[in-house]
Chain length 411, copies 2
Amino acid sequence: MNKLYEKTNAASYYITQGSVNSPKGFRAGGFHCGIKRKRPDLAWLYSEVPANAAAVYTTNQFQAAPITVTKESISIDKQLQGMIINSGNANAYTGEKGLEQAYLMRKWYAEKVGTKEHLVGVSSTGVIGEPLPIEKIRNGIANISVEQEDIINFEKAILTTDTFTKHVCVKVEINGTEITIAGAAKGSGMIHPNMATMLSFITTDADIEQESLQYALSNIINDTFNMITVDGDTSTNDMVVAMANGMAENEQLSVNNPYWDQFYEAFTYVCQSLAKYIAKDGEGATKLVEVKVTGAKTKEDAKTLSKTVIGSNLVKTAIFGADANWGRIINAIGYSGVKVDPMSISIALGSITVVHNGVPVDFSEEEATQYMKESDPVQIFVALQDGNDEAIAWGCDLTYDYVKINASYRT
Amino acid sequence: MNKLYEKTNAASYYITQGSVNSPKGFRAGGFHCGIKRKRPDLAWLYSEVPANAAAVYTTNQFQAAPITVTKESISIDKQLQGMIINSGNANAYTGEKGLEQAYLMRKWYAEKVGTKEHLVGVSSTGVIGEPLPIEKIRNGIANISVEQEDIINFEKAILTTDTFTKHVCVKVEINGTEITIAGAAKGSGMIHPNMATMLSFITTDADIEQESLQYALSNIINDTFNMITVDGDTSTNDMVVAMANGMAENEQLSVNNPYWDQFYEAFTYVCQSLAKYIAKDGEGATKLVEVKVTGAKTKEDAKTLSKTVIGSNLVKTAIFGADANWGRIINAIGYSGVKVDPMSISIALGSITVVHNGVPVDFSEEEATQYMKESDPVQIFVALQDGNDEAIAWGCDLTYDYVKINASYRT
């Protein structure tokens, strides 16, 4: 079975330190405004000029108020100049009042930074069904100064039960002009495929035609953010927003441009990195788990199979216990809904083959346990013989801490 | 919102002590044959005369060898006279060899009790993908004596990580003749709707026409065993088998008989009780959880909604934490795939209403916590206004012990 990510070596982009404020003209900050007890809870993102914007939203039918507002903003000029984001309260299932308050957040931040309301997007994450402490947010927004950048606290202020901040930055040369693409994200709980069970903000100084940007984002999400799962719960709130402000002054990119593929590849890397960070930092997780399915009849089959295996509570607890219990992987394939010939299945944990063409292989339990204990990510390879399609899904182990965190999240 | 189970009070059956050996002519036993380290692992069920038989099997596409054998047995005369059951090893994903061994189990038990091979069913539960220790089973079967009943050890020998044995017994008068219906089950892990993620054996001394028995079992399962979930994993092995040996000498029952409804109601009670025991004894569970959805547009919607709520890891951990975090219930409804007007939803925890027609209700957190801590089952009521259909799903909380059990199941 192949090693993952052969392509990375030949990539035309390079990875560098940085976050959403690294692309030219972007600034970001965050601080504590009083929604949470102590930790940062209000974050802002700002571009010196309006940026072409694209977004994808949760498929949960009860989309939270900030999603409605962000959608409306983007719909007008297909641009955003800033985002105002709070954590600690999701402003979800809060009715008319919640919607009004999301509009107020947009209005106050637009006034504060001197832009039009419809150039501002709003994001919230946290507890569902509780009224937003709107006065605290009003005071918070009043204290924002786009001159006072604080990227560390931007990244912290979007978190809920995350244990680390998540960012990525790449640079790529487009026809002689260097552009930067960066992203920051929060994840942790209520993470399950089907867009977009987390918040992710992606910025770039590239000049990208808006429809192409939306096209790229919508496509890439299917292979990145939609391929992660933490607990099978799809949140009401989450979104991925991409902003391209053009300040790198490259020749405008669109799907027909000869340099499009270079941009697309780098953009994919950014999304995939954020998605993997989110999976790795799943609530209570001790490690990232990757399930790669190859030889599937269709791409859809490969995705369904990899997501079913990574979504199995029994597989996830076995990984936590470093127990090479491959019967649970077989079992998950069995109930995935994808028809598979049992005699066509090979399974490996890292480089340790445990099933070959449907027949259990004699392997060293000790070695397998050691692999599962010491590796991060733990990689599960499932090879079929039904076709040439493949997919990778990401998730995490299921641990005592998942239960601990979620048995007492609100308190 | 209504109280559950109003119907029980008017039932025409009565509940009594007993198990699968209570109906006339049935015997059962079990003991340790060496598959597990110490606990009982081989169980047998026997009827003095061949019994009309019905069965429903797991929907997992990798059905284990014993399922193939049991299916074949029943297909011949639609009858069974006995079941041979082992725990500790699922004989699943064991290829041709596993199938041969399941046939051997059937043959040896048939010879031992002096019946035809095709009147014997085989069941296995335990680890997937390991060879069956067939010599131990052969020796075990050689030691069976149908004169030496041991119902306690029958019930114990079918268990895996269950913490208690599960049985139920009811009696009902059919046109002046008393019949008995009883059942025993094992559950615990890999429990998720879609037939039949556990083993259940139901016996009755009623004379029931075979097609009617299969019809009843197939129908009742949809509202009982298929409405429970523990961890979302559907096992390769599980089955519900019903045997009706006619020794009560009632007038034969079939769907057109005037007393059919009485039998059907009692049979439903047996299945529902076993299903609830299985949910309550879900791996690591501290309590049973019931989710009742009313006012749904269709029965299918009500079922999907109740199963989605009970299947949410986040709802399940909140119940373990006695946290009235109803936002997670709303969230699960939101991603269930069933279209629901958010303003039509009311939610109650026991008698404590937390959301009324889409609006959060001011309730005492303290009282709600107390309810969730002290009640077993914890009842969640979701009332919609879209129609008249309803459904109940059963599950359990998600606890540290679920992780503990499943991080080290094989060792």
